[in-house]
Symmetry: D2
Subunit: 435 residues, 4 copies
Amino acid sequence: MLARDSGNAGCEACDRVSVPVLRQRLFATRRLSSELAAPLSPEDQTVQAMDDASPTKWHLAHTTWFFETFVLKPHLPGYRLFDERFPYCFNSYYEAAGPRHPRPYRGLLTRPSAAEVADYRSHVDEGLDRLLSGLGEEIDLAGLIELGINHEQQHQELLLTDILSLFAANPLRPAYRAASGPDCQPRPTTATTGRDWLSFAGGIHSVGHTGAGFTYDNEGPSHEQLLRPFRLQSTLVTNADWLAFMTDRGYETVEHWLADGWATVRREGWQAPLYWEKREGAWLQMTLDGLLPVEPAAPVSHISYYEADAFARWAGKRLPTEFEWEAAAAEATEENTLATGALRPRAAQPGPSRTPRQMLGDVWEWTQSAYAPYPGFRASAGAIGEYNGKFMVSQYVLRGASCVTPAGHTRRTYRNFFYPHQRWQFTGLRLADDH
Amino acid sequence: MLARDSGNAGCEACDRVSVPVLRQRLFATRRLSSELAAPLSPEDQTVQAMDDASPTKWHLAHTTWFFETFVLKPHLPGYRLFDERFPYCFNSYYEAAGPRHPRPYRGLLTRPSAAEVADYRSHVDEGLDRLLSGLGEEIDLAGLIELGINHEQQHQELLLTDILSLFAANPLRPAYRAASGPDCQPRPTTATTGRDWLSFAGGIHSVGHTGAGFTYDNEGPSHEQLLRPFRLQSTLVTNADWLAFMTDRGYETVEHWLADGWATVRREGWQAPLYWEKREGAWLQMTLDGLLPVEPAAPVSHISYYEADAFARWAGKRLPTEFEWEAAAAEATEENTLATGALRPRAAQPGPSRTPRQMLGDVWEWTQSAYAPYPGFRASAGAIGEYNGKFMVSQYVLRGASCVTPAGHTRRTYRNFFYPHQRWQFTGLRLADDH
Amino acid sequence: MLARDSGNAGCEACDRVSVPVLRQRLFATRRLSSELAAPLSPEDQTVQAMDDASPTKWHLAHTTWFFETFVLKPHLPGYRLFDERFPYCFNSYYEAAGPRHPRPYRGLLTRPSAAEVADYRSHVDEGLDRLLSGLGEEIDLAGLIELGINHEQQHQELLLTDILSLFAANPLRPAYRAASGPDCQPRPTTATTGRDWLSFAGGIHSVGHTGAGFTYDNEGPSHEQLLRPFRLQSTLVTNADWLAFMTDRGYETVEHWLADGWATVRREGWQAPLYWEKREGAWLQMTLDGLLPVEPAAPVSHISYYEADAFARWAGKRLPTEFEWEAAAAEATEENTLATGALRPRAAQPGPSRTPRQMLGDVWEWTQSAYAPYPGFRASAGAIGEYNGKFMVSQYVLRGASCVTPAGHTRRTYRNFFYPHQRWQFTGLRLADDH
Amino acid sequence: MLARDSGNAGCEACDRVSVPVLRQRLFATRRLSSELAAPLSPEDQTVQAMDDASPTKWHLAHTTWFFETFVLKPHLPGYRLFDERFPYCFNSYYEAAGPRHPRPYRGLLTRPSAAEVADYRSHVDEGLDRLLSGLGEEIDLAGLIELGINHEQQHQELLLTDILSLFAANPLRPAYRAASGPDCQPRPTTATTGRDWLSFAGGIHSVGHTGAGFTYDNEGPSHEQLLRPFRLQSTLVTNADWLAFMTDRGYETVEHWLADGWATVRREGWQAPLYWEKREGAWLQMTLDGLLPVEPAAPVSHISYYEADAFARWAGKRLPTEFEWEAAAAEATEENTLATGALRPRAAQPGPSRTPRQMLGDVWEWTQSAYAPYPGFRASAGAIGEYNGKFMVSQYVLRGASCVTPAGHTRRTYRNFFYPHQRWQFTGLRLADDH
């Protein structure tokens, strides 16, 4: 979902948020985007390494366009567009919002400059400030602003994954962040921590979002699902696990693979997760801190659905369904997200656990569930309705959150989704089994 | 699923079939394949019009190879291969059965000739005859032969759909069958027959195959699904309905389409179902009887999942899930299959109905269900296990049967599957709605 | 040029041919086409192995269409088209003659059948017979018929090269002709025969066709070229020579290659001429007699311009210009063409030579000359003018003839042309050098 | 040729250049590159709009790498590489100089930054300064430095054409240069100036470079060519001429086109020269001064060989050969090159002329000559030998110079070359005819 601009609808409780709180969250989010771009040169901010990714500058401008188009233009009397040519440049995929610059050419926009985009951001921030100053009980508007905040948070995650793809394509393998702090060195390799199989009862479970708080439209309607008893591992599959799969010729053994997966492995020459490279016999991994040794106890990341599925088959297990995951996440709390500053998945803390760990953070977890509408789902009207519904084919649901998901942008009902071949996000897996 | 060679496993009751009955069914099936090829010249039998399709001759040889490889070679002492080079030529996709001729080049096999393939069939039939003569209580063998029969039935359907694609690509638009009989003329256009919305209760339903009789492995394990109350139309969406969609600019209106669907419509220039063409202002449709006027009351056919979904959205409805379909098909019986000789979808008989009609016959019906394993599914060991499981990604389930499905090759638990862009099968839809 | 339908114009002397002679040549040519197709099954005649090649049946029909369209339709009063749909099917590339079936789909034309095409041929032959019976002094018509004969001869060569490409793509590696006769076994390997460097004086030479007899428009206008003294080898580069190039890592050494050639070698994985394959350590070559050992003393064949150029550079020599070749061919006579029945290049007879041998026969010889119009060239008006002129870009001239060129279809002024990457014709080379 | 790094060899007279003069030319050239990049932001300098083009920053670094690799590293004792990773980043295509970053990914190099590249340039300039200070009579070295100067001049032209392609792909259509000065406005539209046909005698002409001064290896050996009497237009084909061709349905009339050209027109949808766009009924053209009205009297530019050839055929004329052009250019002098500052082609001055005008400047002129080696041509040994020779296939020669060719980088023997479909250079044409 992060590759798009996720949509909303049912924020029934957004009105309960006070305007000062909303204002604080809004500008904190806006500020964070600029801070994330700060280590990047104007050049770094301009380029996209592949069609799936977007330039930093585009993320900064597009999130601003979103507020301008859906909040300021219709709701702030007298608002003037910063530049009449920008909507064409910075619309992502909203057909209802007019024609747009093609995605693969976003990286050609050397103009407007980074400085002009900063001015654009200021201009829109001022508009938002004016609008919020005059805001009373406008429920819808609060919902829209909340959507804009969440939208921008998604693009913060993308900004980082897209920069990683750019720097990984650079022969200099630059680091996004100077690798100085304590977080930047791989932790001492601990033996794989004890991993438990946790059991969950079957029966009718309620899934999907209920209650107050912001939520995307694809998380509802809340409804019932019948689960069978199942088991889930307490922690994520690690790099050490993955190396065992590789050593056992996992990438060369057709039996483990879905037919489409095998065709992809052959065509693309996959032999390891994305961003892994072997130098002088050792596996290294490109990270936001540059090229580092693969850390055995850390969760494996940057794998496709095909690889996750093949690994599970090799292990004699399976991927969970998204509903099993949601049921198991009843008590999950945020762990290693953007807020920790680690910027990469970290090894689980040792020790037994009654409940699954690493659920909201580290890596998005592939489920075996195809991305589909919940029963009774209806997309919102207008451009906002294009946020989620039109992608509900051929993609697979990922649950959880990653090490670059902004704090507060996690929910146990959150449904992320990507095509089964995509690998540039922080994507990993957790094994499931029948009881 | 028809594009592959669907697999088995759980034929627990196959042993109850007596050998004479099995022998009768086996050779009737073998004979039917030859009869289906009879109207075709050696040239017609050699060519494939696109990568998805296979030549007739290849179907005839491949189904024979299946019996030779999985039945005769391991189970008939002293069996000698007809030609040691044929396994390479006629293996479809069984990795465990050795290397194989690439699918897109099947149409280059002008040798072996049609006559040699006929000899190959005779050779294997003789072997099967010898094997069956000595057969006692070998349960597994009966199951394997049953699988071979079902496999060949699937290829009979494919043989016809693939010939249709070949003749549709020929500027002469040849007819597979001389258009003389009563079935070959479109029926008089009746006004759309009364179509009813039938209501079904929610609750926990058992789905998947149980009891005696042959079944593919993907139809099990039988398990429970929780359904919500739903409604289903008593008959299929018709060509008249589809023309209304087209007239209402359905192919030009982005709002109806999934994002992938819209991209496909634009790239491929789709403006109507496959095989439709406009001549002098009238819509014609290429059929196995040649180019005929589109029959308004007949079910629409040769549409992709994308189109089915867009139509449903345009109509304000949705596609059924595969479980809803199965529940509604409790009392379904075969209607217009290959046995009727119509060779194309036919209009539903007028009159009200308590139960849905046109369920097993006419066209395969797209469901909104992604093709996935049932809970507890395990693929069989060995090459036979490649039959179904390895395709369980990115495809969508179709239920029912078509006008070219062999009689007896239908089940309400049958799960057919294709990619969402594919259109060369007899594929249509039936609308569903929430209660 | 053979891949097209070469054109005419300047047959100033065609009128001197008596009608009986013309009639004899016409029907002998028409008969030869049918004879060449005789060893082929209807299936073999239907398929094309690649876009560049055409099916046998298409060659048979297209040459017939040429006579029907350009000779009978305009010149035989009362002529009726055999089938009004055939012009669409069998036009090759004449824009002026109306729309046409796309080249890559020629192999889908399982209808009309081989038998119907035979009827088509008879129908047109009868028309030609009637026309010739009434023919007096119609000069233009004789020229047109002569063009049709030459056109059909070109397609006879193509028919054989295209069948070779089809059979080479068949895992059974069928032989076009039963390998029984004395010509079908490779000759005993003789040591490479003595090869001489022949010297030619420089100066102003007249090139291009003059005098009586049929000629294509691209062979004129005759004009003068200034040549520098040069040397030419008396015989063609052999397979033994080529193996030395391969052993010396010719295909792995970038220095020998043009940049486009090297990119092609890498992308296509070329390691030997087309149709060569290594089995159990020995190089075999697919031929019209099936898979045979590579014969060292025979001329190398099925190489691209890129390979010819790389070989010459490796050898420290160069390719001749087309004008050098023509000057050196002053006394050349037909050697190993279709008339010998060898159907593949043969080793040169041993012994010294004052004049170059193997000039008109064995293989077409790549020259370094880009295919361009001669000074003063003007294409004929109308469809016939599309024969040659519109291909005069990005192709290279080959001179001589091959082992499958029909007897009588050779001239020392003949200009054949192909793209530098093409290899499916009988194409080889002869080395040249400055004096 | 400009898309590569044109090569040298036969600078027999370079030693006669005094070291002070060489030093002056060297640093003036180095300075000009930096000045050309000055109007561009770091973002502008980083991106490439298509595979054929390179980023400004890459041009700046690659020309520097050329001096470092071929001059400093082998000839300046104690020279240390600025950065050991740069050779991989900035080698263009010299196989002999080691592996290199793939061309299509040059635009991903956001690092090294523009500032680091500036440091790289300074570092190498210092090395060159040291080297020149110690230079005595080293003939080879002077030749190498001269080659480096010419190489950098070629990249100056490319820098500008590549920036134009980048800005043309930007929806803001930025101007490279602020459109303020007198040169930036299209001149008043004059009626097409009188254009004369100039006659030239035939006979044996000497072509190719002779005498003193720098020259690329592909301009020799000097040799004789036999010309027939011909005529050439005194001025270039103009935009007004081109509009007449368009109005006469030139892009829709198959008869004018080479077969490959027509296929390209259809596939790419060409309807006008590159960079032309119609807004509100008027044709505009993207230029280095932004989007401006098409100026009727200015030479047409940004056309492919296919278009030039089709235009000539439409006009009933032809393109000149490169030898005709060279013979006609005997007295040509530089006109509108980079030195004039116009940055776009300009209308010819009115008035009759005895000799052709606009020969060295405005646009490169397509000739009908395929790019091929001159008789006796041998590429230099080593990496430098890759400069020109390996491109001598499938490309066509352009003669003259363009409005962005650096002053002093023109010669009447200069052979530029591009593929027949390429259009992003300043390419136009001049009509020729037989006498």
